[in-house]
Assembly symmetry: C3
Homo-oligomer: 151 residues x 3
């Protein structure tokens, strides 16, 4: 069991505090995408589950309409990047990573992911590829930072 010191001011550990805000913003990003996919499906007049089709008088389809499928692709992409980043980010906090390295990586990843969600939803290229590349580089930088710290 880890020793908890609730009296320790959060300001004493800027890496962890930066992680906490990163975690909150990226969770909001995921939730906003996910909840909106359900809202757009409800407005599309198409149901995926037969019980919803019966309830709302909507035709049942095996595949979502294009607008919903797009939001779900954005959400899937966000999940595939954000879950590893948040787990690795906490690892970097726990190995005692430096704020001067952690904060820029956390900020770059978070900014790039928010931009990626927006431009993917709006079908804007090459911005989708560019923001994806930035988020991927931030993820790789985080892995390198962890490796350098524990070696």
């Amino acid at each position: 069991m880890i020793a908890m010191h609730p009296s320790l001011a959060t300001a004493a550990n800027p890496v962890f505090l930066g992680y906490v805000y990163t975690c909150l913003v990226l969770s909001l990003n995921l939730l906003a995408l996910w909840v909106s996919s359900g809202a757009v499906r409800a407005h599309s007049g198409v149901a995926i589950n037969p019980e919803d089709g019966a309830r709302y008088g909507a035709p049942v389809r095996e595949l979502d309409p294009p607008a919903v499928a797009r939001i779900l692709r954005v959400h899937r992409n966000a999940e595939a990047a954000i879950y590893p980043f948040l787990i690795l980010g906490l690892v970097y906090v726990l190995v005692g990573g430096h704020a001067s390295i952690a904060i820029p990586i956390f900020a770059a990843f978070t900014g790039a992911r928010i931009v990626h969600s927006i431009v993917y939803l709006r079908a804007l290229q090459p911005w989708r590829t560019l923001s994806f590349a930035v988020s991927l580089l931030a993820l790789i930088a985080l892995m390198v930072a962890i490796l350098v710290t524990v070696l």
Copy 2:
């Protein structure tokens, strides 16, 4: 590196202990859904991978049969809610959250997710929407609790 005190009794930190049980139950929820999707597909007589079709003499399809597709939707929904919750839950433990706030949130989320899995599998509305709403509210409450603690 964090300081580890293995001699610290778990009972000394009820928030973390509550988190550990939450984590175990929700992981079981995910695993049960995931493994059952494979079992139901195996019994459906349809294969998604050509090598499985050749092995079991089953026709190969691009899309899963409806019963399997439903379980996979339930599993996907569980993943999209549970991974952020478990990461945020650990963050709440680490910021020194209070048991009087953490335990009700952990319990509400866990209960709502188990109910959601069962009623989604059985196509029961409005229970699916209701249990989903409760789990979403618990997730938002957890984010607010973290924010209030670090501010």
Copy 3:
């Protein structure tokens, strides 16, 4: 807030060090699968997003070609196993798990997942089912180890 002791040598906690390397290798596994799915789609001459179809002069389809769909199934399978494992693995570190239990579980899971990715991509049975079973057993062993430690 947890107490951070950056001066604590990593070697003082082999369970956590083992977890860090496990986390890095499994994240690489996930990233390699994910990035290659995009690369193979780009070479397949088919687009899922209309803006990519317009950009590259590629026909737009609702479903990915078989080679891409396979990589995405491998990635989805890796995600569904690895995210719970990494969260539970960190929990085992934090409850003060023993290295003699943690290291074999971490190694078995990591090895089985890498083998699973390779044999799934190459459509090799029964190796896919066998490596999947080993990774599932390691995941269950980890849950039991956590439960035994906190009880």
